[in-house]
């Protein structure tokens, strides 16, 4: 066989895998939006089947042989070329897949579908007991998964590495402790100041007006509804079903504006990333955002650095008042801006302000590590959660619904490897935004004028279009000229909240 023919066959095989994954994601989307609850068991089987079929094809020794054949040719085109990146990423995925037996993949997929279904009922019913045995199994399965990859320093490094190429338990711990050192004094300083009111966010906000306003805003971001759609779900997410099909979901509360609005902006940020990937990468593992952390940097950039900024609301507050004339009557834009940036020690991660948010993440990261290391039994998790959130955030959850049951992650996937990416995303979002500001001139004036095309263009050029061609550290370095650093993020928080709270 020639290299050409082998490369064509490799791409054909990868396309089949991507199509199976696309079908799997279509079924997951339906499961979380419209599927009748009674279909959970059959859907779990269907998802497990597709997942194990994709896995089996990725682990096929033929993939390894084709990679062996085409790698010298691909590498000769440069590490930054599409073929060079393709063989590197595919090799990594293939080798990982070969470590995990298909029967395990099937078991894990079936288990997580079942667990997700039970959690969907257990959370509103405040019934941790219903998910406890399932979570115990999830912890065991997560350990088993980690054990398929020996040779890491910490046995759970691999779970982080799977989400964030090259990151380890130790690097995350170091980063988190540096960040904590910056956050805690800032939170203390803010607590010493008068508390702003966010009463204007708690009025009557009809769902259809929320939906229309959110759609108008994310259209201005550049989210393309013709290549996507928005639906309702319990726990908002973004999902790419395939080319031309990047969907977002949200939820609305009729008595609270923030939840629906900022989750819409957040998921739209994820979607802009996926919609911005070069379609030439379709049908390959490069056709996705590079890591969970970089993905989160984009959702947080659009949600927070754009969507909670004063210039942004100087553009959008008048239309918002038109949409909700009753609730926002007599409220000026500064008051509104203070309300949406109120720092508050609270129970729910996804509702948390930018400053305290990362403490929620660190809490989860430490607890999941303790479960994986066997230092914390699942039955003791609700108590451990309560103790930690009291000591870190000074609040006590009245129930498990808004405590240990609040996030889907441990109930719809493995334990370990997910939460750290939220904080990594926050860190990167500020670093990217600072670099964009440096390159684009008066970014605040552009945002204030509703001109978001330059920002989206900058992000597309430096980040989005490359898909998974580069790792997170490479993307940071290429886009900003600097290595990953918490400095821009801490500086951003200090400047923004210093001004909002009149800190010295």
């Amino acid at each position: 066989m020639t290299v050409d023919a082998d490369f064509a066959e490799l791409k054909q095989r990868l396309k089949t895998i991507e199509d199976l994954r696309g079908a799997e994601r279509a079924l997951s989307w339906d499961q979380a939006t419209y599927m009748p609850r009674s279909a959970a068991e059959a859907r779990g089987r269907q998802l497990a089947l597709l997942s194990s079929m994709a896995h089996e094809r990725l682990a096929d020794p033929a993939i390894g042989e084709l990679l062996d054949s085409v790698t010298p040719w691909a590498q000769a085109q440069g590490a930054d070329s599409d073929p060079g990146a393709l063989v590197r990423v595919t090799r990594r995925e293939h080798e990982r897949a070969t470590r995990v037996p298909p029967v395990f993949v099937h078991r894990l997929s079936e288990h997580t579908a079942k667990s997700y279904d039970v959690w969907q009922r257990a959370r509103p019913a405040d019934d941790f007991g219903a998910v406890r045995p399932l979570l115990e199994t999830t912890v065991e399965l997560s350990r088993e998964l980690a054990a398929f990859y020996p040779g890491y320093e910490h046995p759970f490094d691999v779970l982080i590495d799977l989400a964030e190429d090259g990151m380890t338990v130790q690097t995350v711990r170091t980063l988190f402790s540096e960040l904590r050192a910056g956050l805690v004094p800032l939170i203390e300083a803010i607590r010493a100041r008068p508390e702003p009111s966010d009463r204007c966010l708690k009025g009557e906000f009809p769902e259809s007006a929320q939906r229309d306003f959110g759609a108008m805003v994310i259209r201005s971001f550049g989210y393309d509804f013709a290549r996507g759609r928005q639906d309702k779900t319990a726990h908002p997410f973004m999902i790419k079903l395939g080319r031309g099909d990047v969907r977002i979901t949200t939820r609305y509360r009729a008595d609270d504006l923030s939840d629906g609005l900022f989750s819409t902006l957040h998921e739209a940020g994820h979607a802009l990333y996926e919609q911005g990937i070069d379609d030439a990468l379709e049908g390959t593992p490069l056709y996705h955002g590079t890591t969970a952390g970089v993905h989160e940097s984009q959702s947080r950039l659009w949600e927070n650095l754009v969507g909670r900024s004063l210039p942004f609301w100087q553009r959008w507050y008048a239309p918002l008042k038109d949409a909700f004339p009753g609730a926002l009557q007599g409220v000026d834009v500064d008051t509104f801006h203070r309300a949406i940036n109120k720092v508050e020690r609270s129970l729910i991660r996804t509702d948390a302000d930018e400053v305290t948010y990362n403490l929620h993440v660190m809490l989860r990261f430490d607890l999941e590590l303790a479960m994986l290391e066997g230092k914390l039994a699942v039955r003791d998790l609700p108590d451990a959660w309560r103790a930690r959130i009291e000591s870190d955030l000074g609040v006590t959850p009245p129930d498990d619904r808004d405590g240990v049951l609040q996030d889907v992650h441990w109930y719809g996937g493995i334990v370990g490897g997910a939460f750290q990416s939220y904080t990594l995303g926050n860190i990167m979002s500020a670093q990217f935004f600072a670099a964009a500001r440096r390159d684009l001139g008066d970014l605040d004036a552009q945002i204030g004028a509703g001109e978001l095309a330059p920002l989206r263009g900058w992000l597309t050029e430096r980040i989005y279009r490359h898909g998974r061609k580069f790792t997170a550290p490479e993307i940071v370095e290429r886009a900003t000229g600097e290595p990953l650093s918490i400095a821009p993020y801490v500086a951003y928080l200090k400047t923004k909240y210093g001004a909002l709270y009149g800190l010295s």
Copy 2:
């Protein structure tokens, strides 16, 4: 291997095939309801992939070997036993699958997805030219498909046989010509009588009120929304994604009550059949309605024999007036009943009354046979359609949108084998209903009192629960004690329309 182990393995393999088909149907449902148009190409590939994977597994020689091993044991339990029926139906499906090469299945599936997508745009644009080259390919592919099955008397017998076990071009032609002989004089007699007004159906019917009323009615039929759901689409259909997940779709016109209402009742009829199948048959080819014709007998029974009857509206007309007080003001139930049963020579099959409906079917059956036999070129199809609908129904379509482009079948599947089942369904619906009336006592009084549980129970016991265990002729014989006959259908039409139109 023991027979027990072989039977277990056979069932495991069949379950995988059913799960692949279920995933495929989930993707099809999404394609027809919520999918962004720009995803058509990727979705076409995903559907083709799942379809060919299911086909490949069904054609696997191992299925044949397992069948060889278990058949004597299964047959010893009787042809009516679950295992007896399972081996018979699986053998038939397996042998059919082995006839068709996987590459053809893949090509056909990709082609029909593309064709469906183009048709969705071409119909509103009245652009037959856009679908013409695709339809030419569809005709060729349909011929190729038929050619994989030699040994039939007429080369297209197999296309009918695939939908209606044991039926042939000749038997359908004979049945249709007998029926035509009964219908034409009835239509002539009706035309000689004064035309009733259906003005009351053309008013303002807000979509949400239509949806709520339809849901209330089909709940009374026994459609279980907890194991299904209803969404909007361009061309209504029912689809079972898996156990506990039988969905219906409909469309609404704000200025016309009939379209949304009767398509809801129709699809609910299909859904009652699927929801009524014994869950013990899950994961096997028996877990579906037996043939397209028997399926259609149920949609038509609930839509027409129940839903367009006078007793039914004696129960439901008051709530209907409550739902649409403006449009139905001053209209009494008799006037309404005449309106929904107005016989009219019209353009659209799905809007046609019970009497002229079958002429629409015969037209399509003859034209598709002519295309398959090479007697009619696709480019001449619009003219042939116009000529035939003028001679049969005395109407001239103003465009192709409401002519040759009106039905999805030729654009989203093969040509041949689909349309005859609509008329077979009509014939069977009357035969089943007459038998139920004989067994249940005063069926009209039950319907008039809104008591539909006895009728649904009778249908479930005799038809639904068996899934595909019996063929259409067997089901007719078992349920009614008589072989398939047009007599009850012609008698039903003569009695009902004789009374409505005052015929002697």
